[in-house]
Symmetry: C2
Amino acid sequence: MNTTDTDTCPIDMMDTIQSNNYPIYFENSLGELAKFIDSGRYSRFFVLTDENTAKYCLPLLREKLGNPDNFDIIEINSGEESKDIDFCIGVWKMLIDFGADRQSLLINLGGGVISDLGGFAASTFKRGIDFVHVPTTLLSQVDASVGGKTGIDIDSIKNIIGTFTQPKAVFIEYRFLLSLPARQILSGTAEMLKHGLICDAAYWNLLKESDLNNPTADLIYRSVAIKNKIVLEDPHEKNIRKALNFGHTIGHAIETYSLLNDEYSLSHGEAIAIGMICEAWLSYKKTGLSAADLAEVTKVLSDLYPRYDLKSEYNDTLLGFMLKDKKNQNGKINCTLLSAIGQFSIDNICTNEELLEGLGYYAGW
Amino acid sequence: MNTTDTDTCPIDMMDTIQSNNYPIYFENSLGELAKFIDSGRYSRFFVLTDENTAKYCLPLLREKLGNPDNFDIIEINSGEESKDIDFCIGVWKMLIDFGADRQSLLINLGGGVISDLGGFAASTFKRGIDFVHVPTTLLSQVDASVGGKTGIDIDSIKNIIGTFTQPKAVFIEYRFLLSLPARQILSGTAEMLKHGLICDAAYWNLLKESDLNNPTADLIYRSVAIKNKIVLEDPHEKNIRKALNFGHTIGHAIETYSLLNDEYSLSHGEAIAIGMICEAWLSYKKTGLSAADLAEVTKVLSDLYPRYDLKSEYNDTLLGFMLKDKKNQNGKINCTLLSAIGQFSIDNICTNEELLEGLGYYAGW
C-alpha cells in the first residue's frame, strides 16, 4: 500500500454512513473528529491507545485536533491479552484517578482490542460515559468499530463479558492503514471476504479479483456498508445479525487455542479464514452449499492465508471452547453457515462429529 | 413485626406496578414468579444468594416453585464487600462453569448487594442475559430493586461501575421482611423517609406517625410507587431522578468511611440518615428550606437512628470521597437538596466549606 492508493481512491463518493443513531465518517474523518470535540458537549477527553497507536497514530490525531491540552492518554499493551478483565480494571482505575466525570468522552484509538475494551470500559464507567472509535487497523475499520458490540475476555474466553452500546461516532481514517504490516491488513481482509460470502456474491467476486494485500478505500467502504445494513436490522443479534458469525464458531476456538498454545499466535483473520473453510464444509454437508462453491471458498482462502497445522489431538480442547461459545443454546453448538456464496443460513445446530469433520476437511486428516 | 401485620395489611389494594417495561408484583409475588418461570422462555435458571438468603429465603422460594431441579445456586458472602469487582468476576466465572447460555435467567434473591451485583453481572454476561429481582430486605424492596440501576464497587468507591438495565420483573414478598433484624428494617426506612422528603409531604407526615420499626406493606407499596414514578420520568438520571440522591452525596461518603474504618460499620440507611441531616442543613442555607422544616427533619432522623461520632479529622477523607461521586460535574460537588419538605432541588454545586459546615451541623462542632 502506498500513498498513491489513498490519493486515487474515490473518496468523494464515500458519504457518511448513518448507523444506529451515530455517523460513520470516511471523508476528512479526523477533521470531523475535531469538530465533534469542539461541540462543547464534553468536560474532559481521554484517549485509549496501545504502544503502537501511541507511536504511529496519536501524533496525527494530536495534530489534527490542534494539540489540545485537555486530553489524558491511557496506554495499554497491544495484543489480545490486554482485553482481559484485569486490564479493564486498570482502565477503570485510571479513569477514576484522572477524575473522569459523566461528561467525559473516551476516544478509542486503535484496533479491535482497543475498541472492544474501551467501549466496554466506557459503557460501564459511572453507568456509562460517551465514547467514539477511531479504528486504526483494517480489521477494526470493517468489523469491530461498527455495530455497538463491546467486549472483554475472561480466562481467554473471547468477549464473554460485554454490552451492546453504540459509540457516538466512528471516524475511519484510511491513512492509518498505511503504517500497518501486511499480516495485519490480511487479518482484516478475512472479515471483508466474509461480508461477501454471507450476503453479496458480487462483492465476493470483486474481492477475488482485487489485490487483497492492499484493499482500496472503496472496498473498505463497501464492507462497512454491508455490516452496517445487517446490524441496523438486528442490533441485538436476535436473528440476521448472526450472519456475521459465519466462520467464527470454529474460527474463535482455533484463535483461542493458538493464543494459549502457540509462540506466534494466529491473527484473528487467519483463524477466521480457517473457520470459514471448515464451516464452508459444514455448509456443503448441511445447508446446500454446492461442491463448486465449497471448492471456490477453500481455494480463495487457502491461497491467501498461511497453512496452520491443525492436529487431531487438539479436537477435545477445540470442542470445549466451542461449547462455551455465546451463540449456543441449551448446550448445543449453533453455527451460521452458507446456502450459497452470498447467502447465509443461521441457527444450524452442529454435532461434535460434524464439527470434527469440518476441522478434518481443513486439516486433511 | 409479626405475622398479624402481614395478614391485616390491605394487600388487595396493591395492584401490580408497571415500571419501565417490567412489572413489580406485590400480591402473591412468589406465585407470579412461579408463573414467570413456567413461561418456557428460559433454558436455565440461576439463583444468586448470600448465606443469609440461602438460609432464610431460598427454602420458601424453592417450595413456591415446586422444588425445581433445573436451578443452580450461586452463593456469595453477605455484606457490601461482596459488591467488589473481584466477587463479580467470581459470579461470571460460575456462570461460565455452569454453562449458562444467553437464554438463562438470573434470579437475584437478596438485598441491594445481590440485586446491584447480580444485575450488573447479568447485564454484561454474554452481552446481557435476563434477570429478575426478589428483594428480601426492606431497603432493596423500596430502593435497589426498582429503577434499573446495576452497580459494583472498585476500591470501595460505591457503584463506580454499572449499567442502566431493567430487570424483567420484580417480585416483592412481604414475608421475607419478617425474619429481618430491626437494624436492617431501619436501614430501609431511611429511603422511605427520603421519598417523603423529596416529593410527598403527606407521605412524610404519615411516616412520622407510623411505627417505622415495623412499616406496613401499604407504606412499602407507596414508597415503591413514588420511586417508580420518578424513574419512569427520567430513567437515565438526566434530571429529576437526581431527586433520589438527596442525602447521598454526604451519606455515601460517610458510609464508605465507616466501611473502611469501623469495626461495626454503619448500615446504608444509618449513613444516609446522617447525610440527610447534613444536606437538610445545606438546604436551609442554599435552597430555601425553612428553619422549622430543618428542625423537624433533624429531630425525626435523630430520634430514629443512633448517633455517629463524626470527628472533624475525617473531613479531608470525606471530601475526597465526595469528589469521586458520580454526580459531580467538572470536579465540582453536585448535591440534591430540599426547598421544602416534599420538594427537591437538583444540581446544587456545594463548596468544600459548605459541605464541611453541613457535617459540622450534624456533629455539633
